[in-house]
């Protein structure tokens, strides 16, 4: 597909661009360790000290953390400009995207490619440790778990992307989205770093229905490492992710039409 070809070309170009700020690049990678690593250490310390949380031990929570890390990495890697869409709406940069013979979303996604190395390395690190430890405890077979983790991350990333895209699309009407994102993205991802069992029922319900980010980490983990729900939840999650993606794309297209017919 020529579009994939285009994307690869762009990713390479974008990487070259970032390499001009080598220090920044290296540092932002290190910063991920600083911010997310410290946060995880902080929480892990507590969980370890008090022997588990909501019935989950520290390695199980670590697995959730790693899944979320990968989701975030993949989403921001391919669609960092979807995440930062507000500036396009405010500076009128969106007009330029509409001048290309390619779908707007694709041009937008090609504007920047970020390798997200920090997240990927940290995620892999935590994932490896947790799977090994759970394997040693006889809870899982790490090879099988790893095999299942790949599609889980895939559907999780699609879900995260669908979420980000919907939020961005809302911007066609409201023009400001960075603050809405704090709720749909920051707050929910933060919540999904931990087993949903620690939350009261209404909150769990929200995270599995209205803002179904629970399907990016909690639901797959329930099957893959806890074995509490069946294998069928994996294709079901994937289906849900696809449905949400279609919905988000619809909303996006609708938003562009709205933008074109109202302007700014």
């Amino acid at each position: 597909m020529s579009w994939i070809h285009l994307y690869v070309k762009l990713a390479a170009a974008s990487l070259r661009g970032q390499m001009q700020y080598k220090f920044n690049f290296a540092f932002s990678t290190l910063m991920v360790f600083g911010i997310f690593g410290l946060e995880f250490l902080m929480v892990a310390t507590v969980i370890q000290k008090f022997g588990g949380i909501g019935g989950w031990n520290v390695y199980e929570v670590g697995y959730l953390f790693a899944l979320m890390m990968f989701n975030r990495a993949l989403y921001r890697m391919f669609a960092s400009e979807v995440n930062g869409f507000e500036k396009y709406l405010i500076d009128g940069m969106l007009d330029q995207l509409l001048l290309r013979p390619v779908p707007v979303l694709l041009v937008l996604m090609t504007r920047q490619f970020r390798p997200m190395l920090g997240e990927l390395i940290l995620g892999s690190l935590i994932l490896t440790i947790c799977l090994k430890q759970l394997d040693a405890a006889g809870q899982i077979d790490w090879r099988l778990a790893l095999l299942k983790t790949v599609p889980a991350i895939l559907s999780g990333s699609v879900l995260t992307f669908a979420f980000g895209l919907s939020t961005a699309a809302v911007g066609f009407w409201t023009h400001r989205i960075d603050d809405l994102r704090r709720i749909t993205d920051d707050a929910t991802t933060n919540a999904c770093n931990y087993p949903l069992t620690i939350y009261p029922g209404w909150m769990r319900l929200i995270l599995l229905t209205v803002l179904p980010m629970g399907f990016t980490s909690f639901v797959p983990a329930m099957h893959i490492i806890r074995g509490e729900i069946g294998l069928w939840t994996m294709p079901a999650t994937m289906l849900l992710a696809l449905l949400l993606l279609i919905g988000a794309l619809r909303l996006w297209r609708h938003g562009i039409m709205h933008y074109q017919s109202t302007g700014t």
């Binding site: 220090f23 920044n24 540092f27 932002s28 910063m31 600083g34 911010i35 410290l38 946060e39 250490l41 902080m42 929480v43 310390t45 507590v46 969980i47 000290k49 008090f50 022997g51 588990g52 949380i53 909501g54 019935g55 400001r176 960075d178 603050d179 809405l180 704090r182 709720i183 920051d186 707050a187 933060n190 919540a191 931990y194 087993p195 069992t197 620690i198 939350y199 009261p200 909150m203």
Partner: protein, 257 residues
């Protein structure tokens, strides 16, 4: 008073973005609630030391509300001033640069205190029923501690802003400060529960003044004597800031503005 006017202007400027602000506050309430739930989850099968589960809930909730008083602008925007050359204009203002920047920042902090800290606190008080001080004077000590915390946080950002002039990027120093702060200030873990090697680092840093000291005062677990620590750090950081401003001025003069 000039610095009061500057603060008032900064306050009014922040009032403009209300709807954005409401979203931010809701997100903040939700994130704080997540942290509280983690402690509740942990406390399921363990009593949580001297705090108890209910105490920990109050501890986290109060910290989350106070977080907004120590949310300062990254390096107080000094890096931006330098990049645009605006700094030479700011340095020529009729009040000292540090006082000017501090006044501006305090306008913002005061705004955040009124429109974020207080609403968040009230929401937690009503929904989670967090602990309320028994002795009336506790309110005074707590407010004082919060004020010192805000001031210290502001000084740290100022120092970062000035120090960053010697490096190429100040953004990373700012975010490093932020993540270290969230660990060492006792925001999520009370300092006495930090791993052994981290505890002394935290104790000898100004970070506990930002959250641990105000919250412990609020929960009536420490007496007002801990305010001496906050006050000392405030004085020390003020002196450091003033000294650095002097160096900054000299450096800019050498460069020719």
């Amino acid at each position: 008073m000039l610095s009061l006017t500057v603060a008032r202007k900064a306050y009014a400027q922040n009032l403009l973005y209300r709807s954005a602000h409401i979203m931010r506050t809701i997100a903040s309430i939700a994130i704080g609630y997540v942290y509280a739930c983690i402690w509740i989850g942990v406390g399921d099968n363990q009593s949580l030391g001297q705090y108890g589960m209910y105490g920990m809930l109050s501890y986290i909730a109060f910290n989350q509300a106070c977080l907004w008083t120590i949310f300062t602008t990254n390096s107080l925007g000094i890096d931006g001033l330098v990049r645009t050359g605006q700094i030479s204009v700011e340095l020529m203002r009729p009040l000292p640069f540090f006082t000017y920047m501090a006044s501006k920042e305090f306008g913002k902090i005061y705004y955040q205190f009124l429109y974020a800290t207080i609403p968040i606190y009230l929401v937690y008080m009503l929904l989670l029923g967090i602990r309320i001080p028994e002795r009336p004077e506790t309110w005074l000590w707590t407010l004082l501690a919060i004020f010192f915390g805000a001031y210290i946080s502001m000084c740290i950002s100022y120092v970062i802003g000035v120090v960053a002039l010697w490096t190429t990027e100040s953004r990373w120093l700012g975010s490093l400060n932020w993540s270290v702060s969230s660990l060492l200030s006792g925001f999520f873990i009370p300092i006495e529960w930090l791993p052994g090697w981290l505890r002394p680092i935290s104790m000898f840093s100004p970070y506990p003044c930002l959250q641990y000291i105000p919250t412990r005062l609020y929960m009536e677990m420490n007496g007002p004597s801990t305010l001496i620590i906050s006050a000392s750090w405030s004085i020390a950081l003020t002196l450091l800031s003033i000294a650095l401003t002097r160096i900054l001025r000299r450096r800019l003069e050498v460069q020719g503005g």
